[in-house]
Symmetry: C2
Subunit: 339 residues, 2 copies
């Protein structure tokens, strides 16, 4: 690979001049500038980002550290991040912590070592990883969940309200024993959605029955197992609220395997867009999140944080959308939609 000195020699100028031309700093004589550009072109010169970053002690790389790369919710976000990043000349790399604190730790270490310019993360919250980033003054934005014990910019939706609306809908449809399958206890998203479910029951004067609540990891298998347990229990629930897309799919798979009919035997309300949702029968009632906007907003917050590290942390709460479809209707009545 050609270095800046190779270019300088060929253009018969100093390395500084090459640097100035290529970075558009200061003004350089037009003739020289042209010579430099030509030399760079001839040599197919590519600045070594390592050297540049070392020198400037800052990179132009962002990392998006998600908890599950196989969850389309997270990959959909990335597009929003990329679009903002590109406009500001950052490159985006995606890392997968797999809800595994060890993997998360390892990526955090890499992020620190590589002097990454900014991080968008759905934190596992199981340890002080975020602290390390904060201590090293790495700009951070949390998405999807709140970072425990760390004041950082955060982009979420109003999970409690959304869950409450979904549960209210199930109640108003006349479902009696409504179960909830939620995520791990230490993830704010899981807690808040469960809380919304609870509030709806309370407001309706229903007794809260802990046997109708299942904690699972945010995976299909978790939803499947949780649903199986719920169905094995007597009396059975007649509806279920699942707090993310994979849990919803898992729960549905369990019901398919057991011949449980939706919504006749068990009504279903899900969270997030479910892959191939339009092909699933009956059509699925879900709360959806503005994934692209979540990514975009997180990226914009990151830009602001980079520009002004001392600004107070922001919490950005984006709107959800309630899609009522056949899976949550006591008797089929077609499809509606409301906020």
């Amino acid at each position: 690979m050609a270095t800046i000195y190779d270019v300088a020699r060929r253009a018969k100028v100093s390395a500084s001049t090459v640097s100035r031309v290529l970075n558009g700093k200061q003004s350089v004589d037009a003739t020289l500038a042209e010579r430099v550009r030509e030399a760079a072109r001839d040599l197919d010169y590519r600045p070594n980002a390592l050297a540049r970053s070392l020198r400037r002690s800052q990179t132009h790389l962002w990392a998006v550290l998600v908890s599950d790369i196989n969850n389309p919710f997270f990959t959909a976000l990335v597009r929003g991040v990329e679009d903002v990043a590109q406009r500001s000349r950052y490159s985006v790399v995606l890392c997968n912590s797999d809800e595994n604190p060890d993997k998360e730790a390892s990526y955090i270490a890499a992020i620190l070592a590589e002097q990454i310019a900014g991080v968008i993360i759905s934190p596992t919250n199981r340890s002080g990883h975020l602290r390390q980033l904060l201590d090293a003054d790495v700009p951070i934005v949390a998405i999807d969940r709140k970072a425990r014990g760390a004041r950082v910019d955060t982009v979420t939706v109003d999970n409690t309200e959304a869950a409450e609306l979904a549960t209210n809908h199930l109640l108003s449809e006349g479902f009696i024993r409504i179960a909830c399958i939620t995520g791990p206890r230490d993830i704010s998203t899981a807690e808040e959605r469960l809380e919304g479910y609870r509030q709806a029951l309370r407001a309706a004067g229903r007794e809260y029955d802990p046997r109708l609540v299942r904690y699972a990891d945010f995976r299909e298998q978790g939803g499947y197992t949780a649903m199986a347990e719920l169905l094995d229990h007597t009396p059975r629930p007649d509806a279920v609220f699942a707090t993310n897309n994979l849990l919803t799919v898992g729960a549905l798979e369990c019901m398919v395997d057991r011949g449980v009919r939706v919504p006749d035997d068990v009504g279903v309300f899900g969270f997030d867009d479910v892959p191939s949702a339009t092909l699933i029968r009956p059509p699925l009632s879900t709360i959806t999140q503005p994934t692209y906007d979540i990514g975009r907003t997180a990226a914009e917050l990151l830009l602001r944080r980079i520009a002004d590290p001392s600004r107070p942390p922001t919490l950005s709460v984006l709107p959800t959308h309630l899609h009522v479809r056949a899976s949550s209707l006591k008797r089929p009545r077609g499809t509606e939609s409301q906020r």
Copy 2:
């Protein structure tokens, strides 16, 4: 951030000694080594990867550059890559070219600039991007598709054979007008799968009707539009072979919207695992690829290539699996499965 000199000062040794201890090079006096480790711990010292990589002119980062981050086929791969990488102390970052040559070019530039140690890529093939990597001696493994005009290690499946098997199955079921929705012309995967379809028709003595073939981008929308065109045409096809998961989903969505029944009106055979496949009725016949193994194999090839840059390029062809289910059966007969 503490530097190596800070650690050296605290341990009352030279920076060289710190470097030796922390990298396990040469033998260092046990007492000194312990002092160094303690000092490093006290200062929470983290080597600056930029400086180290600059010095060694090599990083410990791999990039996986996929053509569509929203396609679960590609994200599923990553797990296989990660597992191998981790064992060899590499970190994996994922970049999304979005089937967009410009985005690809921009990531290739970043990969070059960042001195990435190895690249696993599903190339768009629209320009000489791979050449740039090869010229810079960056180890590369192509996945999913063959790299045009570049001799690189490659991991694929036998697309032609798989497509032929699928089409043969449709033929043997008695479908007469079998359509094919395939991907862009310049992607080997799309070409080979189409070729398998052709070969099956030829072997069966069927005339090849180009009006039954549609090229689309490998997206849901592409499958939807292509299917709409096929359905608008007279006479209609009575079966369709879609050459990837998203095309399959798109085609199915179109049929749902138009009230076309599967398989009674149109039989369907898909490619790849389709998200939430088990929830889709009728169950979908598909050819599946061993995604995890593709990732793992690619990573292993990358390791070998890094160890020995001069070894001849390998083509690794992994087995596919044919899942015959109800969507491709003339009359429902339950579910079978064969190689």
